[in-house]
Amino acid sequence: MRWRYIKQHAFFAIVRLAAFSIAAAIGAFLVYILVNGIGAISWEFLSEHPRESMTKGGIMPAILGTFYLTAGAIIIALPLGVASAIYLSEYAKQGPVIRIIRVGVNCLAGVPSIVFGLFGLGLFVVFLQFGSCILSGALTLGFLILPTIIGASEEALKSVPQTFREASLGLGVSKWQTILRIVLPNALPGILTGSILGVGRAAGETAPIMFTAAAFFTAKLPSSIFDEVMALPYHVYVLATAGTYIEETRPLQYGTVLVLVALVLGVDLIAIIIRSYIRKKKRW
């Protein structure tokens, strides 16, 4: 009898160890980045252009570029994603059509980011002749985060109680009006959370923008959506791997990594906090 409980204790200890080692790994990682990066952060670093073949100066163009690309991606993915989710959750009946769409969305979610890069290169840069620019990059990133937005929106729509819809339909309101006035407003916070997670994803991706939007260095800030931009993730990659000053620019690299991590995790954290707040406040 005792033996069975000893086994249980041993098993629980292993499970706790596994879980806490993950938490410890991410904690140690974040602390390390913070300690090494904080020294490089200054107002000049955040607001100036890079100087002297990127060994001095700031990362402002990269921050701005990442902002443009991410904003573009969300403008493209949000309407498509929410509308797809509305179809899947409100209109579709169980059957082959919905099954195919679901498998398609799952497969799209599993496409490697570098393949999105190739696709963006083939379609937007070469075939449609946009060239390497904000538009190509934003479209590529937008398609990349589409499955994330669909998944989150669908979950949000499904969490609106069926009785809300029935009450509205019972009053003679049409289905479309019900979705627009009853279902969507109630699902909105959940949809927003999902979109914010999508923003974090788009801001941190490197491979899809390597051939579609990102530039090693631009002397001027972009003036239209057909200009190349610098971007934070690509900047980290370039500083860490290319050029002859890899060791000298380590502080700049840590600084850029810290800005990128703070941006992405900050955005994710906001989404997580909003979500837990919604869950607690839920009235139904």
Partner: protein, 295 residues
């Protein structure tokens, strides 16, 4: 009557938009093939996949991606060895063992891990892990299979943990109660009832986690070392497919054989991850527990 027509139109608009994902998937396939197929004019499909010599810039060049495929599989397998136990055990911890308060904190931590940009992990591997590995094991380079696999495992853990967790939650409460009623301990219930009942979901999680690892680019680009050769030990460098595409596309002349060969590598990579995803989808539907029997 007019209202009915309007409703039908609206419904079809939404259906049309929902099909966009399928259209994008189709466009990805089409453009990979348009840009990738031309390489098979200079190399046969068999030599392309099974050729072990990848010298795309030599004269004459040779386009054999076998060592890249092997590289991809080795880092993925090594990453799985680390990520599967960690991911599944974390899921068991969150779903069955953790007190509510710790659960509240732990779940977001795993989500944050999922949100870490891969380039940041790659940078960490280059700047911190590689020098450490090199000094500790006294090896020529710290940019190798071990380093890349450890970081890839970190990227696969959130996928495995969160999907496994959903699978564990979906095991009916009655199963657990019945097991306790028979006098089983919590451990016995988890090991013999809950985990077996959730096995299809856990398998799906594992497959999707591996798919994530095999398609991951920045980590293997920065940390795997980049040697296009069949590795002999886990401290050797490799050049997985995504790394090869990302590193060389910038230099390959537009629409050269090299350029087409990189797109063709993309086709192989896409085919691999697509089949992983389809298998995961099949497993999760085919072996789904259909609920508990009632009296």
């Amino acid at each position: 009557m007019k209202r009915k027509i309007k409703e039908t139109i609206i419904k079809n608009i939404f259906l049309f938009i929902a099909l966009v994902s399928i259209v994008i998937l189709a466009l990805i396939v089409i453009f990979l093939f348009i840009e990738g197929i031309p390489v098979f004019k200079v190399v046969s499909i068999k030599d392309f996949i099974f050729g072990i010599e990848w010298y795309p810039t030599y004269d004459p060049p040779s386009f054999g991606i076998w060592s890249l495929i092997v590289g991809s599989f080795i880092v993925t397998l090594c990453a799985s060895v680390i990520a599967i136990p960690l991911g599944v055990l974390s899921a068991v911890y969150i779903a069955e063992i953790a007190p509510p308060l710790i659960k509240e904190v732990f779940k977001p931590v795993v989500e944050l891990l999922a949100g870490l940009p891969s380039v940041v992990l790659g940078f960490f591997g280059m700047a911190v892990m590689a020098p450490w590995l090199q000094a500790t094991f006294d090896i020529p380079t710290g940019l190798n299979i071990v380093n890349a696999s450890m970081l890839l495992a970190l990227m696969a853990v959130p996928t495995i943990a969160s999907i496994s967790e959903d699978a564990l939650y979906s095991v009916p409460q009655e199963f657990k109660e019945a097991s306790y009623a028979l006098g089983a301990t919590r451990f016995e219930t988890i090991a013999r009832v809950i985990v077996p009942a959730a096995l299809s979901g856990i398998s799906t999680a594992v497959i999707l986690g591996m798919a994530r690892a095999i398609g991951e680019t920045m980590v293997v680009l920065m940390v795997a070392g980049g040697a296009a050769a069949i590795p002999e030990s886990i401290f050797d460098s490799v050049r997985p497919m995504p790394a090869s595409i990302a590193a060389e596309m910038g230099e390959a002349p537009f629409r050269s054989d090299h350029y087409h060969a990189l797109f063709a590598t993309g086709i192989i990579l896409f085919g691999l991850t697509l089949s992983f995803n389809l298998i995961a989808d099949y497993v999760s539907h085919k072996f789904k527990e259909v609920g508990s029997a009632t009296l």
